[in-house]
């Protein structure tokens, strides 16, 4: 596959009031052609800084970026006609109508004005095209922003949090839109906090934390590489703590989650049954643990989608899904180790 976006060792440090904040610490990302590529990370992890640098809105301190094989930002004027982008909150001049906003952008970008109404229709804004942007809700402005990004019929669409402000139906439409774009050959790179959405629509993901990539690759591979040899075990309420002690002593890792135990480092589920039965503890339920993108995200970043990053830059060993793992474990460095919050009775 051809790489549409290549970012290698991107560095960016902000200086404010004499203080330095390293936003990007050698970030690396590759987006392949035709993919819907999710870009995930906690607030302040460097997502928007990366996208801004890619689009020439800020200057990176180091590293290299390429779009369609051309070095940017130097070649940005040459490739920008193939890129549609919305970075951060959609911002338009509030006194213009939605149609005027798009027509002015079309004029500036040499796009046929006839495309404006088609894109407004596509994002469901045809009925409000004559209204001023100041009367639009956040979700409508988001739709207008997406329409502006699609106006050029771009080969690469970059969307920063496109689901912000959308209602559930709007999120579903957005998901379908991204899927349709990718099916039509357009590459979509988007950042999001809605991990379930990302998992549903993305072909590949890059996870960033503390300005570094902590995981990347096809969604299935990322999930598979973080799937623990784990089972969920349910016992009677009073038996959870003794069972945890027994399993930890036997060499398993155990985390209590609500009314059950998540037991890791388990080669065969029957081993759990055997160990517990030996101590007079009997299972009520035993199922293989499934890993979703959210749990991987939490494990890698140590934070909820809206929380702070768990690690400082320079922390984790970055690994692409499918690459050989360091050591004998099946996790990405110390962040994943933290996910094994062992219950030490």
């Amino acid at each position: 596959m051809t790489a549409v976006v290549e970012i290698d060792g991107l560095l960016k440090t902000y200086r404010r009031r004499g203080r330095r904040h390293r936003a990007l610490a050698g970030f690396t990302m590759t987006v392949e052609q035709g993919q819907v590529h999710g870009f995930l990370g906690p607030n302040g992890s460097g997502k928007t800084t990366t996208l801004r640098a890619l689009l020439g809105l800020i200057q990176a301190d180091g590293g290299a970026m390429r779009m369609f094989g051309r070095l940017v930002p130097g070649a940005l004027p040459d490739v920008v006609g193939r890129v549609g982008a919305v970075v951060e909150n959609p911002r338009f001049f509030p006194g213009f109508t939605g149609r005027d906003t798009l027509r002015l952008l079309a004029d500036a970008g040499g796009v046929p004005p006839g495309r404006v109404d088609a894109k407004l229709e596509l994002v469901g804004l045809a009925d409000r095209a004559r209204d001023r942007v100041r009367t639009y809700s956040l979700g409508m402005r988001q739709r207008l922003a997406v329409a502006s990004a699609l106006l050029k019929d771009p080969e690469l669409v970059i969307l920063d949090e496109p689901a912000n402000g959308l209602d559930p139906a709007g999120i579903r439409e957005m998901r379908q839109l991204m899927r349709d774009l990718a099916d039509g050959g357009t590459t979509v790179l988007f950042s999001s906090h809605l991990l379930a959405e990302v998992q549903q629509v993305c072909d590949a993901v890059t996870i960033i934390a503390g300005g570094r990539r902590v995981a990347a690759g096809p969604v299935e591979d990322v999930l598979a590489s973080h799937t623990e040899d784990a089972v969920r075990v349910r016992l009677a309420a009073g038996e959870l703590a003794p069972a945890a002690q027994v399993l930890v002593r036997a060499g398993a890792t155990v985390r209590q989650e609500g009314g059950h135990l998540l037991v890791g480092n388990v080669q065969r589920p029957a081993w759990v049954t055997y160990v517990l039965a030996e101590h007079g503890l009997f299972l009520e339920e035993l199922v293989p643990a499934k890993v979703d993108l959210e749990s991987v995200f939490l494990a890698l970043t140590g934070a909820g989608p809206d929380g702070p990053p768990a690690r400082a830059a320079g922390g984790p060993a970055d690994r692409r899904a499918g690459e050989p793992e360091p050591g004998s474990g099946d996790r990405d460095g110390d962040a994943a180790d933290r996910a094994r919050a062992e219950v030490d009775a």
């Binding site: 940005l76 982008a85 911002r91 001049f93 002015l104 500036a108």
Partner: protein, 335 residues
């Protein structure tokens, strides 16, 4: 060209700009209408009426004076000293004379193109400069503060070209507006004078001088617009330009006046922008040294500030502000 066309359309669609231009044209129209309403050509009948009213007022004043000094006149006639509130000649010097009631004061207002065209140009120039300040600052300031400029830069990642195009459109629009309205304004003032006042004494030289004054007024507006554009771009807000202009005016007029007195500057006016503004409009301003302020005559030491000096000061300030705006934009993180 595409960008230029888009920016021209964007400029024309801005409501604040439309309203500002509309109010400006309306104000000019109202001033001309007011002048037309008030000005009346002096006819023979009007002159006769004015002469009669002047004569009547003089007669009434003389009668009142005679009545007031009557006790004094009687006393003098009877050989007594005049009352203390009167002079020895019974206030003869205070007796009303025809000079006190010139006929011209009893004539209706008559606009004289020759005498008043400079004043009308000054008013026009001040209004146009205000319009230029607002248009120049808001065209870029509102784009910055609304985030629309960042959006545009994603579409056209050529910062210098985008800013230059916007500047060309703003200044070009001010020049176009100024050229059109200046011609209409001078024509309007002349028409009012022609039909409701007088154009007596209007020579080709006067018309040429008025035309050049209008050109200077339009030129000043273009400089003001570009300066405001640069300030608003640096400050990323329309209000930043207004604040900077007000601050500059305070420093120039109040601060420099104070500094001039403390530092005993010989020509403090040479450091005040108002001097250059006046020189721009009136072609030249003569500054006397401060030591002459008490009435001493020392014209030999006087210094002339001409409109060319003003062009140098305003031009250099505008170019400097624009350079800073372009350098800042080149390095700025667009947020």
């Amino acid at each position: 060209m595409r960008l230029l066309r888009a920016e021209v359309r964007r400029f024309a669609k801005r409501r604040l700009i439309r309203w500002t231009v509309g109010v400006f044209v309306l104000l000019l129209g109202l001033v001309l209408a007011g002048a037309s309403y008030q000005s009346r050509p002096v006819t023979a009948a009007a002159l006769a009426t004015a002469q009669a009213r002047a004569g009547t007022q003089l007669a009434e004043a003389r009668a009142a004076h005679a009545e007031r000094v009557a006790p004094c006149v009687d006393a003098v006639r009877q050989g007594r000293p005049p009352p203390p509130e009167f002079t020895a000649d019974c206030d003869a010097a205070a007796a009303p004379s025809p000079d006190w009631y010139p006929v011209a004061e009893f004539l209706p207002y008559q606009l004289s193109f020759r005498d008043e065209v400079d004043g009308y140009l000054l008013l026009y120039g001040a209004l146009l400069a205000l319009v230029a300040l607002l248009v120049g600052a808001s065209f870029i300031g509102a784009e910055w503060s609304s985030g629309a400029l960042a959006n545009l830069l994603v579409w056209r990642p050529q910062r210098g070209r985008v800013l230059l195009t916007k500047l060309v459109v703003a200044v070009g629009a001010i020049l176009a507006l100024g050229t059109a309205t200046a011609a209409l304004w001078l024509g309007g003032v002349y028409a009012v004078a022609r039909f409701d006042g007088t154009v007596q004494g209007t020579t080709a030289g006067l018309l040429q001088s008025a035309g050049l004054g209008a050109v200077r007024a339009v030129g000043l507006a273009a400089l003001v617009g570009a300066f405001a554009f640069a300030l608003a771009s640096i400050g990323r807000h329309t209000a930043a330009a207004f604040g900077a202009v007000i601050g500059l005016a305070l420093v120039s007029e109040v601060g420099m006046a104070f500094a001039g007195s403390v530092l005993r500057l010989r020509y403090p006016g040479a450091f005040q922008l108002s001097t250059y503004g006046q020189a721009w409009v009136t072609r030249s301003v003569t500054l006397d040294p401060v030591v002459c302020a008490m009435g001493a005559t020392c014209r030999a030491d006087a210094r002339d500030i001409t409109w060319l000096h003003a062009l140098g000061v305003f031009g250099a300030g505008t170019v400097l502000a624009l350079l800073v705006a372009f350098v800042v934009l080149r390095r700025r993180a667009i947020t």
